[in-house]
């Protein structure tokens, strides 16, 4: 099972070559076509269509819960109790992760 750890992703980012989402005012929410379960603070997800394997978003339960509603970055950061000094780092971390989840098709991003 693929295991996404948001913190790991940040350190992997330069090598992985993820593009930063530069769209200002982008909002995200869970895709309607996703099946998921929460287990001990992790979330396990799979697309309802296709043949992809389920994957775990380690420690992602809080973020996933917020994505039940359409949210922009500032709303996510505020809801996750991110300290103002950490905003930039965390925002970048979330953007990378959300872009990846959007690419997989479990999160919808819209301007």
């Amino acid at each position: 099972m693929v295991d996404f750890n948001p913190a790991d992703r940040v350190s992997e980012r330069p090598e992985a070559g993820y593009e930063t989402d530069t769209r200002e005012g982008t909002c995200w929410r869970r895709s309607e076509r996703v099946l998921w379960r929460e287990v001990l603070g992790d979330v396990v997800l799979v697309r309802a269509d296709g043949d992809s394997d389920p994957f775990a978003l380690a420690g992602g339960a809080a973020l996933w819960s917020l994505l039940a509603e359409r949210r922009d970055m500032s709303s996510l950061l505020a809801s996750m109790d991110v300290q103002p000094g950490d905003y930039e780092v965390k925002a970048e971390e979330f953007r990378v992760l959300l872009r990846e989840l959007e690419h997989i098709g479990v999160v919808d991003g819209s301007d």
């Binding site: 076509r33 379960r37 287990v39 396990v44 697309r47 309802a48 389920p54």
Partner: protein
């Protein structure tokens, strides 16, 4: 021997705590951290009973003390279980799509329906296959539609025409290797024959939305009755998840006992519901007698005739004995004879698929029934 008994007792007590976690009125568990043998024993039972989600909930609520290593193990096995559940849910949607395309009415039973609509968190209810109910009138069309979509029936019907008149279900393997149980009835034997499945379809369906797609399920009262049939009749001893289902539904307090009673009386299943509630109460150590359905069904004793019929669902030969007992619920001598003949003389394709010759089939049945154990 004392040490072995103690290990089993510890694991059994912890298993009970896992199975009843979060139920209103369940006793708090205060056992010690389990040693390696008891822990292995518990994990093995949890996996067999598909209770990984309840184990995770127990650990999350600190209702079972665990070491850091055990905590990691719980996370891992709970993730594995939900991974399988999600794959099965996706398979459920694909199966539903095939039946919808063929305009065949169906209801999703058990697993996903109960996990999402009854439990506070669907990860608490694991399952091992996909169960769907279709009407007798649509049975062969449903089997054909699924076969045309690449599903394989694992065992042919016992004799031509048996399924639609007397059958309970057919097991199919989906193109991706998942098990799909296509039901024509809820259970084997007399209590199955007394269920009016057409009535289940005439009643309003519930709706389960999975991945943005709505699929029909049984309504809450029908679902409760089925959970009771599943707990009291399907396995011996009953599956713990089935007992939990009964308790979970009874304790929610949103069932209409009049509707349940009307259905059950019509289907002669009062004793089945009584037994399911009693067994669930006893094992889980929760008071279901005080629930609105418990007040109606857990009273008096089970009539002698029902005790005999219920006994046919127990023991190693229950698959045969409950089917033999089913003859009491079949109307008409000719139909009874046809049924018994089918059970005694299955067609060769059925026997071959199960690895029997006619003689070895009879020997096997006799051993199971009369317990050459």
């Amino acid at each position: 021997m004392v040490a072995v008994a103690s290990v089993h007792d510890e694991a059994a007590a912890a298993l009970r705590a896992v199975c009843s976690v979060g139920l209103s009125g369940s006793a708090p568990y205060s056992g010690p951290v389990l040693g390696p043998v008891s822990w292995a024993n518990l994990v093995s039972r949890v996996k067999t009973e598909r209770l990984e989600g309840l184990l995770a909930a127990t650990v999350a609520r600190a209702a079972l003390a665990v070491t850091a290593e055990q905590d990691d193990a719980v996370r891992e096995i709970a993730r594995s279980r939900v991974r399988l559940d999600l794959i099965l849910e996706r398979e459920c949607l694909r199966t539903a799509e095939v039946l919808n395309a063929a305009s065949i009415p169906f209801r999703v039973l058990k697993g996903p329906a109960v996990a999402h609509l009854v439990y506070p968190d669907p990860s608490m209810r694991g399952f091992g296959d996909v169960d769907l109910l279709v009407e007798a009138a649509s049975w062969y069309r449903a089997v054909d539609a699924l076969r045309d979509a690449g599903f394989k029936r694992l065992v042919p019907e016992i004799r031509e025409g048996f399924d639609v008149s007397y059958g309970k279900d057919a097991t199919l393997a989906s193109p991706r290797g998942c098990q799909i149980d296509l039901h024509r009835n809820l259970v084997l034997g007399p209590y199955g024959f007394w269920v009016d499945t057409d009535e289940l379809f005439a009643r309003p369906a519930g709706v389960l939305t999975l991945g943005g797609t709505a699929v029909p399920v049984l309504g809450p009262e029908e679902s409760f009755v089925y959970a009771c049939y599943n707990a009291a009749l399907a396995d011996d001893p009953p599956r713990l998840a089935a007992l939990r289902d009964v308790a979970e539904m009874a304790l929610r307090g949103d069932l209409d006992p009049v509707v349940v009673n009307t259905l059950v009386r019509r289907w002669r299943g009062t004793a089945v519901v009584h037994r399911a509630l009693e067994v669930a109460s006893r094992y889980l150590e929760v008071d279901l007698r005080g629930s609105n359905v418990g007040e109606v069904f857990i009273r008096g004793s089970i009539p002698a005739v029902d005790r005999i019929l219920l006994a046919s669902y127990r023991g190693p030969g229950r698959g045969y004995t409950s089917q033999l007992a089913g003859v009491v619920a079949i109307r008409g001598v000719a139909s009874k004879m046809r049924y018994l003949w089918s059970l005694a003389r299955p067609q060769s394709s059925y026997l071959q698929s199960r690895g029997y010759t006619p003689a070895s089939f009879v020997r096997h049945a006799a051993r199971r029934i009369w317990g050459a154990s």
